[in-house]
């Protein structure tokens, strides 16, 4: 988890102040929370350099999460597309069914080191909520999950799962009742319960040190991918494609490759009804710089600086912001940010299921949609990795509904 590989490395960020590049990231929170963020920063720094912390984390990642996750050569999908050789990084095989547990495992161990007893978290698709509820069950900690009321409706199986795991799920009706509003409510809870509560952020957003810390815990995805590709093909991949909600699965697979300029990094935002439909979650492609949820980053907002509602078929991508490090990678041109619509994701969801026997999360289906779109334009020697961030069991109701099937 030590990322720096020299002074010119792109992996050295953020600065001590939490900023990436020119003023992105940072800590934009009320004074009540500032001392807590500084304390968290210190605690994380101490854990990061403590071999016993890494030993403990490795143990849980292996025996509980089920790492390493395989790198799968998707033969039939490759043949179907014609062109680039398609690999899948199988994060959907992790315990609880997504990459979210990588981060949650790291943060729960940190929360324990800090002596916190009560965990609060926000969730969109419910995958982060389920992962958080899972580790709280594992360690016998109190767990409160904030989830937008709309998301509670469209992700019923995950809501029930969280409750089975002993978490309290609080539906948030403010705003549009999605991830942004759940994030606001989780921050309000934290402010009101600072003495005993740890706020377990689910993506590479929020105030410093969250974006850097969550990234570090997710980097295991990219590190494994690098080693596995070396083993299978004897070289680096050429293209990596990942879906972008807040950006944690993408940052996890991108970051270990930032200093390998031959590797093209592509983040796929959810463009909902279409990039110019006004109903998207494409914060980088259709947003501008602003401050929300503790950091400066690209946001969907109107000309008065009011945050606008995002839209995506996928609850996990339905967020009007993006992690600040992605905004930075966009500004310096190290990663490309593109889009896939609801319909494209639905189609890719079915294609992947039928050709590979893997039901992907609708979030991951956005990455598959873009990868399968460009694959035919690339040579057969091109090695392209798609990050399959989660499995799609949670989405079958949404998909059935869209396909006009009654369950």
């Amino acid at each position: 988890m030590t990322n720096s590989t020299g002074t010119n490395s792109l992996r050295n960020g953020p600065a001590e102040s939490g900023h990436f590049g020119d003023g992105l990231g940072g800590r934009f929170v009320a004074e009540t929370l500032m001392p807590l963020l500084l304390e968290l920063d210190d605690a994380y720094k101490a854990a990061k350099t403590d071999p016993s912390f890494h030993k403990e984390l490795s143990f849980y990642l292996k025996d509980y999460v089920g790492r390493p996750s395989p790198l799968w050569f998707a033969r039939r999908l490759t043949e179907h597309c014609g062109g680039a050789k398609l690999y899948m990084k199988r994060e959907e095989l992790n315990h609880t069914g997504s990459h979210k547990l990588n981060n949650v495992m790291g943060q729960i161990l940190l929360a324990r080191r800090m002596g916190r007893k009560r965990i609060v978290a926000e969730t969109g698709a419910g995958q982060h909520g389920v992962a958080t509820a899972t580790v709280c069950a594992l360690f016998g900690m109190q767990c409160v999950i904030y989830m937008g009321a709309v998301d509670v409706e469209r992700q019923q199986p995950n809501v029930f799962r969280m409750k089975l795991l002993g978490a309290e799920v609080i539906p948030v009706t403010a705003g549009a009742g999605t991830l942004k509003d759940a994030m606001n409510e989780a921050m309000r809870d934290w402010v009101a319960n600072v003495q005993n509560t740890y706020f377990l952020v689910g993506t590479v957003a929020g105030p410093h040190p969250y974006p850097a810390m969550v990234r570090d815990f997710q980097c295991v995805i990219g590190e494994e991918t690098k080693a596995q590709m070396q083993e299978k093909e004897g070289r680096l991949p050429d293209v990596i494609v990942a879906a972008i909600g807040g950006g944690s699965n993408a940052m996890g697979i991108f970051h270990p490759f930032l200093d390998d300029p031959s590797v093209r990094l592509i983040g796929v935002e959810a463009t909902g009804y279409g990039l110019d439909s006004g109903k998207t979650a494409a914060s980088i492609e259709r947003g501008s710089r602003g401050v929300l949820h503790g950091n400066r980053t690209y946001l969907l907002q109107d000309e008065n600086g009011q945050i606008t509602e995002a839209h995506s078929i996928s609850a996990g991508l339905d967020y009007p912001g993006v992690g600040p490090e992605h905004s930075w990678l966009h500004e310096i041109g190290r990663a490309d940010y593109v889009g896939a619509t609801d319909d494209e994701a639905l189609e890719a969801f079915q294609l992947c299921t039928r050709t590979e026997g893997i039901i992907p999360a609708l979030e991951s289906a956005h990455a598959i949609a873009y990868a399968t779109k460009i694959a035919p334009t690339l040579s057969p020697e091109t090695l392209l990795v798609i990050n399959i961030s989660g499995r799609g069991d949670k989405d079958i109701f949404t998909v059935a509904d869209r396909l006009g099937v009654k369950l």
């Binding site: 921050m187 602003g290 008065n304």
Partner: protein
């Protein structure tokens, strides 16, 4: 001397603390909030805080969240807010006006243009909740150049080392957030406040106002006695909300009820 400093100095002469009521811009509409603003000094406001509505007020409780929503629905923007204060200043050259809100709308407007236009409208100070001193460089210089105070929040979680840093960026007065929590929820006890103040007094000569959780005339009187001022927000906004009709519009009761409550608070503060 700034309007804020003048007002606190005058109150000190009188031997009492300030009552600082809050209203949200354009809540429930431009005319009503302007009329309320104009009537507040007469009803006992010593300084006035105006909320700048934001879509995502993450440090606020349900009452201010709803007020912000009503304000936005009624078309609150920064130019409308400046227009409101400008109209107020025509008849009231003395009562300090402080804006409270979040950074994003200010950044979208442009920090320099914001400070110039705010000063021109007759605004005296800014409270930007999600802009700690560490992130204030975008505002600090242009606020100072335009004679605007940046009022700093201090919380129970602010330790002594941090207090120094926060106060080194403060002007106008210091806003003591009396509880760890969001607006309009818990209240601190008088004993908590008595215990908290000496630490602040020792660290600054600026006046200290207490906010968050002050609802009743008794609480306002105690806070303004223990410190130099009491901010009352959610309690007034709640009264306002209760007078609205089913569509959220002002009724004949709206102004009288809010102003009557303000008078009660003022009576207690003035002893």
């Amino acid at each position: 001397m700034s309007r804020i400093a003048r007002r606190f100095a005058a109150l000190k002469q009188e031997g009492r603390g300030a009552l600082i009521p809050y209203l949200e811009a354009c809540d429930p509409d431009f005319e009503t909030s302007l009329t309320l603003l104009r009537a507040m000094p007469e009803a006992g406001a010593d300084l006035i805080e105006i909320g700048m509505p934001f879509s995502d007020p993450s440090a606020d409780g349900p009452v201010i969240q709803m007020a912000a929503r009503r304000g936005l629905k009624a078309g609150a923007t920064l130019p409308r807010l400046f227009e409101m204060v400008h109209a107020f200043r025509k008849n009231d050259p003395d009562t300090p006006v402080i804006l409270m809100g979040y950074l994003n709308p200010v950044e979208a407007y442009g920090p320099l243009r914001f400070c110039e236009d705010a000063a021109r409208a007759g605004i005296d100070g800014l409270i930007i909740v999600d802009m700690p001193p560490e992130e204030a460089s975008v505002m600090q210089a242009c606020a100072a150049e335009n004679g605007l105070d940046i009022i700093r929040l201090v919380a129970p979680t602010t330790d002594d080392a941090r207090l120094k840093l926060v106060l080194s960026h403060a002007s106008g007065f210091v806003y003591y957030v009396s509880i760890t929590g969001i607006t309009g929820t818990r209240s601190a006890s008088d004993a908590d406040l008595e215990a908290a103040l000496p630490r602040l007094r020792a660290a600054t000569d600026l006046p200290v106002a207490i906010g968050f959780g002050i609802r009743t005339p008794e609480q306002a009187a105690a806070a303004s006695r223990i410190a130099d001022g009491a901010v009352v927000a959610s309690a007034l906004l709640k009264t306002l909300a209760e007078t609205l009709d089913a569509e959220g519009r002002a009724t004949a009761e709206t102004l009288p009820k809010v102003l009557a409550q303000l008078q009660e608070l003022a009576k207690a503060v003035r002893g």
